[in-house]
Symmetry: C2
Subunit: 319 residues, 2 copies
Amino acid sequence: MTHATAIAHPNIALVKYWGKRNVRLNLPAVSSLSLTLSHYRTQTEVRWDAPRDVVTLNGHPPSKAQAARVFAFLDRIDGARPPCAVHSDNNFPAGAGLASSASGFAALALAATTAAGQALDLTALSVLARQGSGSACRSLWGGFVEWRRGEEEDGTDSHGIPLEGADDWDIAMVAAVVHEGPKPVGSTAGMERSRETSPYYGEWVQGADADLQEAKAAIRARDLQRLGEVMESSTYKMHATMHTSRPPLLYWHPGTVQILHEVASMRADGLGAWSTMDAGPQVKVLCARTDAPQIARRLTPHATRVDVLVPGGPARLVP
Amino acid sequence: MTHATAIAHPNIALVKYWGKRNVRLNLPAVSSLSLTLSHYRTQTEVRWDAPRDVVTLNGHPPSKAQAARVFAFLDRIDGARPPCAVHSDNNFPAGAGLASSASGFAALALAATTAAGQALDLTALSVLARQGSGSACRSLWGGFVEWRRGEEEDGTDSHGIPLEGADDWDIAMVAAVVHEGPKPVGSTAGMERSRETSPYYGEWVQGADADLQEAKAAIRARDLQRLGEVMESSTYKMHATMHTSRPPLLYWHPGTVQILHEVASMRADGLGAWSTMDAGPQVKVLCARTDAPQIARRLTPHATRVDVLVPGGPARLVP
């Protein structure tokens, strides 16, 4: 086969990932835990052995840097590869803190290796996808996924591990988009700035394992409040390392803070809703599926777009 | 004398104060450094030996809790005092993170002790004012004031110390008010929550002395950029301990973030402007006096009120 198409969903970290122990291999300083989401998806078609290297994103050529990142990733699959054609489509805003690089590199890893005639298992695909974008290693699986930082220098033990719990638990994630557009500082540059300059970075790294254990215990107990609280705590700790970087990394927008206050107000009204943000201004709200419509209605006046997402499935080939 | 009137100005911390080593005496966990501001002022009249205890704030009775705080403060001056009448007026928003309690308790300390016939020096007044509101101990003096945390259990070594530097340096502070109204969590309760629950509180306390030394060196060198950068860093570190408290203390409003981005944008345009925030949503921007009008113009679309303030003078009696 020299041609394959794959779909993957983005994932949102509940225990957050910020900081690398190895930049080239995308090895994280902390373990993390995510929820793969439905509805949002990247679909990527790879032709292995094309007339020339070409890549499109939603039908248009991406930036030179993005194209170079894609081809460097294909070189990892086969250093002597032929020219390749990559066509990728997202049905949600890219590069805006909605994890489009996670679904993007997960879909690319699956489509490209299949097109190249390689049959990798999910763990090997996760190790590969991680090298394209760290969080992509969690998008090979659906539901809850743990990403252990690992200890090996070559990163072979740093990959996603699927967890039980999402299939029989009616939870949802309401994504409130407050600003579409690329982030001012990319994640890798931002993580390095935090590692080098934030006085709180050491404590951030030290506390991550306890958050991971707390989140796993909450998932085992199907305790949404407990999971929501550790997610919010991990989120604020991560953004605190961003804010205290020099110069400060302020990914929040006015609308971000508006929604954070609205979520606090919903909780004061007895609604179970907990917020998280990544390296961008959007807010995602974890809640029970039955509460999602009401929460979406309350967020709508403050957002340019609100989507109700539920746990999504694994990356897969399109026949 | 049984009657006296005093004026004091609020001060804004450049090296921030957050956290107490003794709540009853308002002894801080960290040393801090402030700039006393012009224009904004509290004027307080005290009649010592009145028909009954009475207090007004801007002509109206304050909350019971505020009134109790005023009379408890008078009890510290004389445990066997007669009934007292206190009338206090602010020409700026109170209880909104603009340091009205600093000017308030500095003016009250000076007016009440004078009315009671006590002649205290400024250091003794500072120790007294601190017990009403911690930051009030810095408002006895004009310009730059250091507040050393002190080591004594009784707080006698924890008071303001005036610094040289503000008289011959043309700096300004542009205050952008984005939301008037009381803060959701008072400073004392907020500080205790951070001390008890923020994982970054220990590092916050540990780093404060270095910030103080850096700010004093910047003032000695009349280096505004250096002073602005350590002020911003101290500010973000303080707010990070607030955000990582459980539950989070989010004093920021949407307008706060709007102005933080505008200040970053001004700096990108080559304008020297650095931001600070206290336990409230307002942003104060440190700059050269010659740049203040331009900075005020750029902040005006994002604020409900913008004031250009310069270094102010000490607390004083009104004849």
